[in-house]
């Protein structure tokens, strides 16, 4: 895990906000869940469009931001049908917390 890349990803206010919104997807993205045939294991995952709407950014920017957060490991993505669901990678976030709380 490249800490420098991770900090860079978090240095953008919108990306930081997205990561925090994803702590409580059901509260922050209530419209999520209306997708046809979404299996239970994707509960907690949020699609790009919902994040785009909530953050008030363009579709391409939303996709790019989510990619940045995924590349550094903070988010996990899974495509299901037309949608790509993003959710927090709690392991990576815990690793980051350990680093900041210990080695830093």
């Amino acid at each position: 895990m490249d800490m420098t890349e991770t900090f860079k990803a978090l240095s953008n206010p919108t990306r930081l906000q997205i990561l925090m919104w994803l702590k409580d997807p059901e509260a922050n993205f209530p419209e999520q869940g209306g997708h046809p045939g979404v299996p239970d294991e994707l509960k907690g995952g949020v699609c790009v469009g919902s994040i785009r709407d909530k953050a008030g950014i363009s579709q391409s920017t939303a996709s790019q931001y989510l990619d940045v957060l995924q590349r550094c490991g903070l988010l996990l993505s899974e495509r299901h049908g037309k949608w790509t669901y993003f959710r927090r990678n709690e392991e990576a976030i815990a690793e980051l917390a350990e680093f900041v709380g210990g080695e830093l």
Copy 2:
């Protein structure tokens, strides 16, 4: 404390390294302490020149990097005579750790 600014400061490998070196100043900057008339309360503070040498960067870059780390609160500085001594702001670092370990 602006977390976004703090993460940006840490997104540079050299700045991150400097902050970690300052965890153990006596081990990482053994030449520090040869300054005339340095009072005890500055023990643990390291001057710009020492950091410049250790990091292998120019004097202006060292000064600028330390300024970035100080502006976001991660470092504290104190001028004494010709030298400016920088040391970690453990309170701010603890606050950051709490944020990453809790709110993030």
